[in-house]
């Protein structure tokens, strides 16, 4: 910081707000600003051009507009990715990473948006249908006019107000599609009657304004509903509806809502108002707040929004598990993310943001992330010596080499370590290996879910599959046991479900069907099914129910009372030949399933570091800050941050510490009430003239003032009136 800069800033420090002008070290930039600014406003302020621009992007497309814009920005070659590998990374790799991110995330984001839209679809349609129905019902008695009530939808959104934004956005789109004018009001904006009306008039009136240029007409106050009526007058019936949506109804003033309902009711002959309330608690509670006479003016119906955890699961399937997810999130990170969703009632948006941040981190900070590029963009020449070095230091590489040595593939191991060319080839192959692995994982999971024998939620299933792999044959998994206990018809149905799953794949996971690749599996399954069906047929004619040695009927525990003692005995029923055949079929099925439904833990994949992101700490630091810990650490052990020579922490309060840190130490030792006079003398004893710090009293006092002032600003102490010159402690970190 040069002195000039300092000086400029000194003045600005005391202003509330100012426009920052960069120090004119870069002449081109400053010229740009000075030239650009004055000419711009004249152009932009012209009303007509603004409206032309605003009309199309208005309500339904605004989301897309913002999206496109994001996209534009991502395409920007100057995406700020610094080179990694101690700045020796080639620009090609850096920009490849950047462009990979720019492709990967928006694709995924739009997929997530589709999912979210789909999740609320039924609610939206129900609301839409209700409003249409209510308004057409009302038409009949419009002539009478008096008993027509305002249609009111009560949408139970649950306590998470963060999620409402999305729902109401979608609702507005949906309703606007039907020709209605939608006005969304939040409690923050609707402070009084005037403000709400202004908003209603402006938002509802704006949509048709370009056609409606009346010019010399009468002028209305901007909260006069008459103005809105003027706009709507000439419209067709369907376009004269105005839907006012109160997003967080509970936060509105009671009286305000009552007034609005009354007003809307009175205007119903001219403007067809409909209202929607977003409700966090329950309709009963909400109704209790409104005046009875006013609630009678509304014709209401309640709508429930899809449960948040269901939405979460479908987003999870699409964005984390699905085939479109480019970067895989590791089990550790996923687990902590899901925990946070459940424990902190965080909205779905938080989950999506976290996901996005994981993508950002991966491409921004992982020098190997460019390996995710398709083979067309990835060439041998892109791999630098540093990359190879990085690969060789990977954990997964080490385990791979060790495994190779164990398996006596010494040549392979040797070449991996020494031969750069060989390693490069191997690295370039990892893309296909990754796809293979993921495909196998997803197919296995899909089949597992299709079997329908699992009670654990899908998220849990996926996370454990990543961390421990899928292995039906191992003793831990109850799946095969469950399969074996099934009866013949159930097994046939199970096989049918599996075959369907293989044929159709999973649209939720973006997994196409893989019937062609799984011929042996389908063949084996069909065979088993045919066998079992034949057996069952025979059993039916013989009237002898088919059973296997696993099924529950075959083992009966008998209790016999002999001479006042209870005897337990296991009774194994005799198995017929058919039963034995059935048992054998079940065994075959179990074997086939355990062969095909299997997957290794993700960490066993060589080079998984290039596409798996499992770092918990950046996520936690960035989204769940722990300021208390940070502050207390900074103040109690400044050395951790400053790493200065003078205050190596040895548990004592040294005079060399920054003033506030000294005061904080004394603060910790004090009770709930602190005598400032004593604090001062203690401080002076630490830094005063008798110590090796040797501050004179006035200087020490200035420092003391500063420290105390900082403590107060940070909210550690407040004035206490209990005793003269005492302050009260406010914080226990």
């Amino acid at each position: 910081m040069d002195s000039l800069d300092d000086h400029i800033f000194q003045e600005d420090d005391h202003r509330t707000a100012f426009i920052f002008t960069p120090p004119s070290s870069d002449p081109s930039a400053s010229a740009n600003t000075t030239k650009g600014t004055p000419s711009r406003p004249a152009k932009r302020r012209r009303v007509s051009s603004k409206q032309q621009q605003s009309t199309p992007t208005n309500n339904n497309t605004s989301h897309h507009a913002e999206h496109d814009q994001d996209h534009d920005h991502d395409q920007d070659p100057a995406l700020p990715f610094p080179p990694l590998l101690s700045s020796r990374e080639s620009p090609a790799c850096t920009s490849l990473r950047a462009s990979l991110f720019a492709e990967a995330w928006p694709a995924l984001e739009s997929r997530i948006e589709d999912v979210l839209r789909g999740a609320n679809r039924s609610t939206l349609e129900a609301v839409h249908g209700f409003l249409l129905e209510a308004s057409s019902d009302g038409q009949g008695c419009e002539r009478g006019g008096t008993d027509k009530k305002i249609p009111a939808g009560f949408i139970i959104t649950g306590p998470n107000i963060a999620g409402q934004e999305l729902l109401f956005g979608q609702l507005a789109e949906e309703l606007a599609g039907g020709g209605a004018r939608v006005v969304r009001v939040r409690s923050g904006e609707g402070v009084n009657l005037k403000a709400v009306l202004k908003r209603v008039v402006r938002d509802a009136g704006r949509m048709g304004e370009d056609e409606e240029e009346e010019g010399g007409g009468r002028r209305y106050l901007d909260y006069d509903l008459e103005a809105l009526y003027e706009v709507l007058k000439g419209k067709r019936e369907a376009e004269r509806r105005v839907v006012v949506a109160f997003q967080d109804s509970e936060a509105f003033d009671n009286a305000l809502l009552t007034d609005l309902v009354r007003l809307f009711y009175e205007w119903r002959g001219r403007i067809r108002f409909e209202v929607l309330f977003g409700i966090a608690t329950s309709v009963e509670l909400f109704q209790a707040r409104l005046l009875k006479s006013k609630s009678r003016l509304m014709l209401g119906r309640q709508f429930d929004v899809v449960q948040a955890d269901k939405v979460l699961e479908s987003v999870f399937k699409a964005a984390v598990v699905g085939n479109r997810a480019v970067v895989r999130l590791g089990p550790g990170l996923l687990r902590s993310l899901m925990e946070r969703q459940q424990e902190q009632v965080a909205g779905i948006q938080v989950f999506i943001s976290s996901l996005k941040y994981a993508y950002m981190c991966h491409f921004y900070a992982n020098s190997l992330s460019f390996l995710l590029a398709g083979p067309d963009k990835l060439g041998r020449e892109m791999l630098q010596a540093e990359h190879l070095e990085a690969v060789r230091s990977l954990e997964s590489f080490k385990t791979h080499v060790e495994a190779a040595v164990e398996a006596r593939q010494l040549k392979h191991a040797q070449s991996l370590l020494d031969d750069d060319e060989y390693l490069t080839g191997q690295i370039l192959e990892q893309g296909s290996k990754r796809e293979e692995y993921l495909l196998q994982l997803l197919q296995s999971l899909h089949l597992l879910v299709a079997m329908g024998l699992h009670t654990t939620p899908f998220t849990e299933l996926y996370i454990s599959a990543l961390s421990d792999g899928v292995d039906l044959a191992s003793g831990d998994s109850p799946v095969l046991d469950n399969v074996k206990r099934l009866g013949p018809t159930e097994i046939a149905a199970l096989i049918g479900r599996l075959l369907n799953a293989i044929r159709d794949g999973s649209p939720e996971l973006d997994l196409p069907g893989w019937e062609d690749d799984a011929e042996d599996l389908t063949k084996a399954l069909t065979e088993i099914r045919d066998d079992i069906e034949a057996l069952e047929q025979r059993a039916k004619t013989e009237r002898n129910p088919l059973k296997s040695k696993y099924s529950a009927q075959s083992r009966v525990v008998r209790t016999t009372v002999v001479a006042q003692k209870v005897q337990l005995s296991h009774d194994t029923a005799k198995l017929t030949n058919d039963d034995k055949a059935f048992t054998e079929a079940i065994d075959r099925l179990a074997e086939v399933l355990s062969r095909h439904i299997q997957s290794d833990p993700v960490t066993s994949c060589p080079l998984h570091e290039a596409w798996l992101y499992d770092a918990k700490s950046p996520y936690r630091d960035v989204f769940v800050p722990r300021p208390g810990v940070t502050f207390s650490r900074a103040l109690s052990r400044p050395h951790d941050y400053l790493s200065c020579a003078c205050c190596k922490s040895n548990g004592t309060t040294a005079g060399t510490l920054p003033t506030t840190a000294i005061l904080y130490h004394l603060y910790l030792e004090a009770g709930a009430l602190i005598n400032v006079a004593d604090l001062w003398s203690a401080y002076l004893a630490l830094v005063g003239e008798d110590t090796n710090i040797g501050l004179d009293e006035r200087t020490a006092l200035v420092q003391f003032y500063r420290g105390l002032g900082e403590l107060r600003t940070m909210g550690f102490v407040k004035q206490s009136k209990k005793k003269a010159d005492h302050i009260a402690k406010l914080r226990w970190l």
Partner: protein
Amino acid sequence: MVRRKSQAEESAARPPKKRSLEVDPYEVPDDVTSPKPSRGPAASARRPAASKAAEGEAEDSVDETQASVEPSPTKKRPGRPPKANGQAVTPSALRKKAVVATPIKLNGINGVDTPSRRNNADRSARRKSARALIDRVVGGAISDDEGEEEDIAREIYESSDEEDEDEKAEQEPIATTPSKRGPGRPRKGTTTATRKRSPTPPRDLPPHEQYFYQNKPGLTKTSGNNLSSLDLLTHEEYFSVLRQIKDPHAKDVEFLQSLHAESFPQWTFELSQGFNTCLYGYGSKRRLLHQFATYLSSKDRASPPSKIVIINGYVRTTSLREILSTLGTAASHKLTTGTPVAMVQSLLSFLTSTPTTTLILLINSIDATPLRKPGSQSILAQLAAHPQIRLVCSTDTPDFPFLWDSGQRSSFNFVFHDCTTFAPFGPEIDVVDEVHELLGRKARRVGGKEGVAFVLRSLPENAKSLFRLLVTEVIVAMDEGDSGSSEGPAVEYRMVYNKAVEEFICSSEMAFRTLLKEFHDHQIITSHKDSLGTELLSLPFRKDELEAILEDLMS
């Protein structure tokens, strides 16, 4: 003897004369005699002191008793004096009680209940093993594993035997204490008890435990020192000294800042992805944000370049209107005047209509008092949620996350970064005023005692009397230890009025109000309503000032 004791008991009801013990309202009086119901306003404060003093006197009397009786128990001293012995010697009921009470109290507070519970368990184990041993002996036959069992049982039996002896050894000194020292000093018992209750603060308590520990009633003992001998700093002196101070850590602070500056590209990337950044941690982040602004403007290749607006939340006059109008200027858009809400809507709809304009907001101290109102935060959240506005802010307090509800938090879409800078706060804090406010010396008032005297001199006689009445009442309230609410000890309006009428200071409430108005105008009284709606009056002075004023008024 006995008469003396009853005297001592009687004295409990009387206010103390001899001893001015430290008032401890939470101390449970040891003696049974309850003091008579109090009459005066200060009586409730005096009560515990009285009982305590009574206790003291009782002790004294006991001491003396002990001295006179001493010869008889000393004979029995050699050997182990059983408790009953001590009791037999004690001539009065009071004494007996004191002797017995001591060990019990010790037990309870020492926290020996857990070991004793353990002892019980041990004892029952021992009983069982004893029974097992007996059974063995009676039954005779010993097989191999039974022998093992027997060994275990024997072991248990023996070990607890030893322990029992240990226990006895431990208990012995306690048991003997009263008789050795003589039962005349039950005080010893109480002091150990209190000392046990407040040893040096236990280390490494978790914060919430620390809170409860430190807020325990009766623990807030601070010395009576005050800063009256210290010549407090004036603004001029503060700044002139400050200019000469050289921070020994300046280099380290600079280095730390440069470390933070290395993450500028990362922050830029996060901003570009629609996240907003929030910096927290100890130290001023103003310089860092400024550097970031410089960095952003140098890296900005968008056309037209995005406008950077810096907002200083710590400036006391900060208002939303000003912030918004600056933003409007930055966006080259004339905002509709009106409420901030309307201004925001106008700004946002303008931005939506011109997708090329982007604004970057850098807010210093978003958690500073002027911006803390929920209204301001919701407006900032609305701004931050707009895709063309990026927001970087810094916070200074450790509890900034409480500023936002979940809706605001999600519209802010923050990523948080620990930016502990250790940089000294400059314009953020008006140090001298802050500290003086903290110490209750407010600069804006009429200069203390002299000011009041000056004001009163120009007022009629009954105004002076009323003020004297007020001061007296407030001092009494202070003595009662009623700290009132934030404004210190306060007295009820109604009560003051009644007293004023009694003393013929004024005859109607109208006149009373007029007099009070005069005081209000000169800011020598303040009034507020408590949660029940009772109007309270208080004086913005410290106790010593009030006493000085009262002295002036009386003379």
